[in-house]
């Protein structure tokens, strides 16, 4: 689905990372870890074509991301659910409409309205459906972002520090939701520096952890 081959990215004459290779297979569960500034968010952005690799090839469902026009990128993004670090909501729309947004832009709002109630209950936001994003707590925002990421039933879910602003209990709850999605066949890639979250996940699901450090991607081992 998403494959990176010898990918590098740099800006201002400085290489952030280079020669990265990885693949997200259907039903896989990956963690991407590494120190702050290592390029975790950038790597995720390459996966949903917000950024273009400066070297190598990012392949999205068999197509080279570099050759995609803007419409093709938009269509690919409908197959990927992204939980952004800062959630990225439209503050003038209530939570329910924010969650429905991916379906609205795809012209599929009718099917979303059927699933919305169920989805809101799943992420525990039924009572907050009519509230506006600035009125939500950090945990509620992260769960709403997750609900928006999965409303279209995407094949891949990318989450960038989804538990960054959450307490442990809420982090566990969010992880459980992501594991449930993975069991439903979705591929999950979580960028996080929260090692406790990675350890906690091992009891629930078979995961693979990649570490981005010094511009290189490594398979993390028992040191986690």
């Amino acid at each position: 689905m998403i494959e990176l081959q010898g990918v590098g990215y740099g800006y201002g004459g400085r290489a952030l990372f280079s020669d990265l290779s990885m693949a997200l297979a259907p039903g896989s569960f990956h963690f991407l870890t590494g120190p702050s500034g290592a390029g975790k968010t950038t790597l995720l952005k390459l996966c949903y074509a917000e950024l273009r690799a400066t070297e190598g090839r990012v392949s999205l469902w068999g197509r080279d991301a570099r050759g995609m026009d803007r419409d093709a990128v938009a269509l690919v993004r409908r197959r990927i659910g992204v939980v952004h670090q800062d959630c990225q909501f439209l503050d003038h729309l209530p939570v329910a409409e924010n969650i429905l947004l991916p379906l609205i832009v795809a012209g599929r709002q009718d099917e979303g309205e059927r699933n919305l109630r169920e989805l809101l209950a799943w992420v525990g936001l039924t009572e907050q459906a009519g509230q506006y994003p600035p009125e939500l707590s950090g945990g509620e925002r992260q769960r709403a972002a997750l609900a928006r990421a999965v409303i279209t039933s995407p094949e891949v879910i990318l989450a960038d520090e989804p538990t960054g602003n959450l307490d442990w209990e809420m982090s566990q709850r969010l992880l459980t939701l992501l594991v449930e999605l993975n069991r439903m066949g979705k591929s999950v890639l979580i960028a996080t520096h929260d090692l406790n979250l990675i350890r906690a996940s091992k009891a629930q699901v078979a995961t693979r952890t990649l570490r981005l450090r010094n511009g290189r991607l490594q398979q993390a081992g028992a040191d986690l």
Partner: protein, 321 residues
Amino acid sequence: MSRLGRILGTILRLLAHVLALMLRQVRRFFAFLAGDPQADRAVPPTGFTASLTLFTAGAMAFLAVFALALALATGRMAEQWGDQLARTATLRLPALEEVEARTATALRILDQTPGVAEARALTTEENQALLEPWLGPDLPLGSLPVPQLIEVTLDGEDFDAAGLRARLEGELPGAVLDDHTRWRAPLFEAASRLRALGLLSLLLIAASTGAMITLAAQAALAANAQVIRVLRLVGARDIYIARAFVRRFTLRAAWGAAGGTIAGVVAVLLLPSADTAGGFLTGLGFQGAGWLAPVLIPPLAAIMAFAATRAAALRMLRTQS
């Protein structure tokens, strides 16, 4: 089936195809105007750019009404002046002896000249009236060598001024035929230039409106950069995002221009009537089918806003990831 039948069949199929295409475009246009409430909600309205677009479209439409009135009025006047002067000529006989006989000869020659509908010698009173503005009312016309004027009314294209002059030179030496060419040329030129200025003003107004709406659209797009980013991230295509802005600006421009046009037409209506004063400025207005011209201003403003906003939106969206 005959060959003619086949040709007719092909033409009918072609017409049906064109009609279906047109209906589809009309449906798309009305669907665009009706809009998608969900898409519209995704982009919050921005008060500043809304007011700016409404005001700009209104003010420009108001000015466009006057430019249009000027262009139409000057066109009308050029036609009127040209027509009036082209249909008349003046024959001047020098104040020599045997004026009556020479006048009779001139009238006979004119009577035989193709393209002349009527020729009439001006009376002493008419001559007096013509000279009065310059020489005063107590003019002793009988003691002055005043030339005899003959007013000639023309009725056709076959009037040959050069031929008539040649004949007059032979039979009535000293007679001068003035077919008003030297009057008509500058009048025509002045009226044509005024009309060109009116049309140029319309073009400048249209360009300024387009520029202002583009700036307002760019401001709205910049103010909504975060909204656009979020929409792109959740899979919105550029055309989806642009449509919400384009529809909003198109409708604002149409409403603003409609208001400005109505105000402009009312102002033109309040100008003094051409019949009562009869001067150039009082003739500035619309007549007959000319009244339909201002009706075109709001839809044209809407089309321009549509094009300007669409171009600005798509251009700006291309710079985003």
